[in-house]
Point group: C2
Chain length 365, copies 2
Amino acid sequence: MKPGNLLGTSSISFSRPVYIESAASVVGQKEGEGPLKDKFDRICQDSLFGMDTWEEAESSMQKETASLAIEKAGLAIQDIRMVFAGDLLAQTIASSFGIAEMGLPYYGLYGACSTMGESLSLGSMCAAAGYGSHILCATSSHFATAEKEFRYPLGYGSQRPLSATWTVTGSGACVIGPAAPKNNFGGQKGCAVITGITTGRIVDFGFRDSLNMGGCMAPAACDTICRNFRDFGRTAQDYDAVITGDLGEIGQKILFDLTSEEGFDIREVHQDCGLLIYDNKTQDTHSGGSGCGCAAAVLAAHILPEIAAGNWKRVLFVPTGAMLSKVSYNEGASVPGIAHGIVLEHSIVPPKNSPASAAHLSGKS
Amino acid sequence: MKPGNLLGTSSISFSRPVYIESAASVVGQKEGEGPLKDKFDRICQDSLFGMDTWEEAESSMQKETASLAIEKAGLAIQDIRMVFAGDLLAQTIASSFGIAEMGLPYYGLYGACSTMGESLSLGSMCAAAGYGSHILCATSSHFATAEKEFRYPLGYGSQRPLSATWTVTGSGACVIGPAAPKNNFGGQKGCAVITGITTGRIVDFGFRDSLNMGGCMAPAACDTICRNFRDFGRTAQDYDAVITGDLGEIGQKILFDLTSEEGFDIREVHQDCGLLIYDNKTQDTHSGGSGCGCAAAVLAAHILPEIAAGNWKRVLFVPTGAMLSKVSYNEGASVPGIAHGIVLEHSIVPPKNSPASAAHLSGKS
């Protein structure tokens, strides 16, 4: 049996679903005061995570999250066959230093804030093809490292336009594999599986405003969502939720306009991790949350548990990324976007004696 | 049939070899004056490649190389199912801007100078699993963008220690897939196939000298080479060549010592792309060439044609990367290394009427 069927120009429908064995989230203080505060595994009040620099803090947070995901899956580090990880920093130092000490086979990724989608795409392709029983997908972002990397020194206290988003201090990690989780997913009745992917393309609408990331990324989100609908022969009604990574309020409005032009109305099912993680009105986060860690932590803390519990039968998870560096920005280059689509579905965990590879999908009717 | 068999903790032996359909290389003036000058597809005398900035120059070079590889495979852009690409710059802007205009499904990678190994690993896993008929793997580096990103402004004319390497201005790209190339590889009798991979791990020996990259990367190269030998049950005698990416003279010496300690003598078969691309004595390149583009351009221009011609039956290609950013370096962090191993073998191109998937390996006896 082939691991997956190719759909359209850029989607794969897996022949057997890939199980999410576990998921973990670790966030900072501000995220721990937001609407999802009761759902994260750990909230760290010290934004330096006990380290000396912001970069070490992010590495430490990512490693802690990855370790927790492995532990929650009932596994040891050496059970992990390969790691797909990345972050926002130059040369992805948070991941290479964070995951380094684990000594695991490692693929470093850069997809800006879409990295959790990229890691789950590559991880699920490898799991479906039998390249490993347990694959770790992880990513992180940190407010202070991202401000330093992309914007201004924190000490300047620079004013932010209302279109700006607030980079999430957080990390999310999942262990995925071809067989059902040892433990039910977080004590839920069922679990979440990946049944398909739609690979992102770089879409450049010529936006040059790095303080309006939602605007830069909305065209890429639209492109991926519409290709997913067409490749799988679906519409918004076939999903309980279509959840983008970090478009924020402004990006969401643009996304609605763009998808309408393509003939799809996603208003009723659309959610955005950047709008779920903060209360913009009381937390002064302007357009919403952003960063690799935004989509990843909301996935682990909120989306996957909702799917495992059966509250959502099928979700399209679409982390969104803005491709820029301070060099390209200062040279006047535009900010292209990319978004990777992951089809997540509710599954009943098969009884212990049944073939591990037979998933019992309870697809959305 | 499974796409591949798992060996050891981190290797895969593909059930059917993955074909390299085409390869292209584009380099700068200095590389075009070195020992491999007659082998590159294109040598550009203008180090700005007709653009206004070094970053645009590198993007332009990478796109030109990718386009040429597609053309040499007898394909159109829309025949490519997905792209695996990366570079050395912060947020991998050379790739995201270079490949962006192609509008192809895209996975951005960061593996420092090991990126060609990372892209071929992921590309070959996807090709073997049937996730695409034609997959593009590309990477690049540029002397001027790398100096700006990692070292000092060119205008300073900073002096370089003899342990330093010279970043190659160059790009290499391959189109790979599960079926034999339409055309024989570059007019050769045979072609090159990927028969296995050994995924790299991050190895940190605590080196802190960013001007001795060979020393930083040698432990990772040793780790990957020894794991490859053990996982596949081979020794150096089973390969016609073991070719690292950019260890240079100093890194090579350290590699020989480290592999000897592990019980393997690779002196007779070892080569290094960084030592092949320049004549260190006459070109003032100190320890040798380096950069993503070094391994990629030497692969496309020299290694693959030698394999396709049957001069080498089996080669272990091991691009090596040093994981650092100027932030991590300035904060006093060490420089860990990573190396990805690709097993390349000579194959006879099957006759047009035979099943495309049946490779005819002429393995090293």
